[in-house]
């Protein structure tokens, strides 16, 4: 079999396309810069001008007037990856800059005192890796379509050798290897029609005195071959490692996240957003596991979210939030499960507004704010005083 493999750059794209691509790119970069939203639109590069040299909106240097002066006079973080500039104390936040040529990879990292935050983004698993996961690491599970299996978010405390990481493999290890009981909305109709067809052909077969069945489907065809939770629901809360047994989370549901402090528009030093796995459920909705992290001078917030929508059936959100207070060396972890009936939620949204009510059901933020809470748990880890 002849194989022609050529992934070199082509002769280039048309000017018009380059301009369009530039706009998308400029928007992408700008979106990462913590400036006030009002300033964004005016910076759009002109569409009609075909320019030979790339003209990009450079990340604006923060104007000191915009910065809380305390944060600036007290710089204590270091950028650990020179590929992810500019952060020379502190040009601006760290801009993760994935290199899109294969292998696509990005590995930004930031240190504040004894805390190091790093993320890594790589493409979806290749066939060889998938085979390994399917046959060894996650035996019995039919894997989701897109697995960013070499990507992760990691928060490390160096002096005590404690860390928590979020990765796809550990998240998928918590997917149950049994029937979820959930079926797509038209399942009954589909099954009925197949069964009817089966019966028809059996009758026909008998009438013709044939010993051979006329159809390929026998009873086994309407049986599920492999049982696993096809919605990929995971209760994963992160993977901890610790040099000592005393550094363990303690359950304390009375704890709450410092929402007032987190809601403050403190300067963001590091921001990332990544998907660990995703499946389109054969176009019956979505199952997606996503991590967001933002690091400020005094604390960080990580949100790990599993979002499931089975069209016309149900919606489910599993959120884990982690807050690290750098000065107190304190970690709080809050875990929430939420679930609601699709139609009830749709009705709820219809009452509020909008010509496209289903759009809200694609927005995990709207959903999370509007579906019933099933479980909430909170844990705390005080590294200064673990007992």
């Amino acid at each position: 079999m002849a194989e022609k493999r050529d992934i070199r750059r082509g002769p280039g794209i048309r000017t018009v396309e380059i301009n369009a691509a530039r706009q998308v790119h400029a928007r992408t970069v700008r979106a990462r810069i913590p400036i006030d939203i009002g300033a964004i639109d005016s910076q759009e590069p002109a569409t009609s001008t075909a320019i030979s040299a790339p003209r990009f909106v450079q990340p604006a240097l923060p104007q000191s007037s915009r910065q809380p002066s305390a944060a600036h006079s007290h710089v204590r973080h270091t950028c650990n990856n020179p590929r992810n500039p500019p952060c020379a104390h502190c040009g601006t936040m760290i801009v993760p800059s994935p290199v899109a040529t294969l292998p696509l990879e990005d590995h930004p990292s930031l240190t504040i005192n004894n805390w190091t935050i790093s993320t890594k983004k790589k493409p979806i698993l290749n066939s060889q890796e998938l085979e390994d996961w399917e046959n060894n690491k996650l035996k019995g599970l039919t894997l989701p379509e897109m697995i960013f299996g070499n990507s992760f978010v990691r928060i490390q405390e160096k002096t005590r050798n404690w860390s928590i990481e979020f990765n796809a493999l550990d998240a998928l290890r918590e997917v149950k290897l049994k029937d979820s009981g959930i079926r797509v909305s038209y399942s009954k109709k589909w099954m009925d029609s197949k069964q009817q067809k089966q019966r028809q052909q059996q009758r026909l077969s008998i009438a013709l005195g044939s010993s051979q069945p006329l159809s390929d489907i026998d009873d086994s065809a309407l049986q599920i071959a492999r049982h696993y939770d096809w919605t990929y629901t995971t209760k994963y809360k992160g993977t901890e490692t610790s040099g000592s047994k005393k550094y363990k989370f303690k359950k304390d549901d009375s704890q709450t996240l410092p929402i007032d402090k987190l809601a403050r528009p403190d300067h963001i030093l590091f921001y990332d957003d990544m998907i660990l796995f995703e499946d389109e459920l054969a176009d019956n909705g979505i199952s997606i596991f996503n991590i967001k992290i933002r690091v400020m001078n005094e604390r960080l917030l990580l949100l790990s979210r599993f979002f499931l929508r089975v069209d016309d059936v149900l919606i489910r959100v599993v959120d884990t939030r982690i807050v690290v207070e750098f000065d107190e060396n304190k970690v709080i972890r809050e875990y929430k499960e939420m679930e609601g009936d699709y139609k009830t939620l749709l009705t709820k949204h219809k009452m509020s507004h909008s010509h496209d009510p289903k759009a809200a059901l694609r927005d995990s933020n709207w959903v999370a704010a509007n579906i019933p809470l099933i479980t909430r748990e909170c844990e705390i880890l005080n590294l200064n005083d673990p007992n």
Binding site: S127, I217, R226, A263
Partner: protein, 326 residues
Amino acid sequence: MNCNNSGKTYMVTLEGTRQMNLDKIIILLKQGKHIREDCVYSLCIQAQELLMNESNVTHVDTPVTICGDIHGQLHDLLTLFEKSGGVEKSRYIFLGDFVDRGFYSLESFLLLLCYKLRYPDRITLIRGNHETRQITKVYGFYDEIMRKYGNSNVWRYCCEVFDYLSLGAIINERVFCIHGGLSPDITTIDEIRSIDRKQEVPHEGAMCDLLWSDPDEVDTWSLSPRGAGFLFGKGEVDQFLQTNNIELIARAHQLVMEGYKEMFDGGLVTVWSAPNYCYRCGNVAAVLTIDGQLERSYTIFDAVQSQNGMGHTIIPTKKPQMDYFL
């Protein structure tokens, strides 16, 4: 305007004028420019007339290039043509899923339609499970049309074309092309010819299976754990190949990091032609060329990228907004 670029000389007739217009539209589409609603309407009507005459399973001669899912990634579709010879020189079969997910579903679909009208014998379009009203309403094409036109007319015109697309193709009587896979209701390719295809893809039955089913390591026909949809294994593929005296089933429908994946001792191949799917998967894409001796050769290509001023390349992402999430 040059009317001779297909290799034939056209007289300035009504037909010539039509081709000239098509060439103009093709240029606009390649640049991602807006196409007027009445123009889309006329294209769709012409396409329906053309597709109406095609059978459910179209015969195609070698050499031919088989392409998998496109999903509105117009710039990558242009790369595809560039890397594989172009429609002016080569023959193509597209296995469906032209729309949804990407930012340029309309332009991608219309470009393929224009090529079909301009070079009818060089391009075969097969229906994918996304070429339906129900799916496009959820997965982006409908929203894209509302954004670009402020009303859904263009979406309706396109959906009417979807209903006329072929269900499959057969190359030199030896390679069977389909979007999804096999159906337990279909033993011979001839049985596909009796399906009434001019309708919205139903939720059950042979037409649905052909567009939706997936190959898997299963011993026999089995039900997906989702409660609808079939999985088929090597046994089913071998039997289908033998019954129909063919050597390969070429299908699309599933994302493959390497752009293509052969299964069941080479009896089935999945071809995927949307590189860096959804602008974030980092996969390469492939097309499969079948030559006169039925030899297979794969052409791999990468996504179109934009570069930033510092020489770093950044992939446009759908949701890059940094926000003060809580």
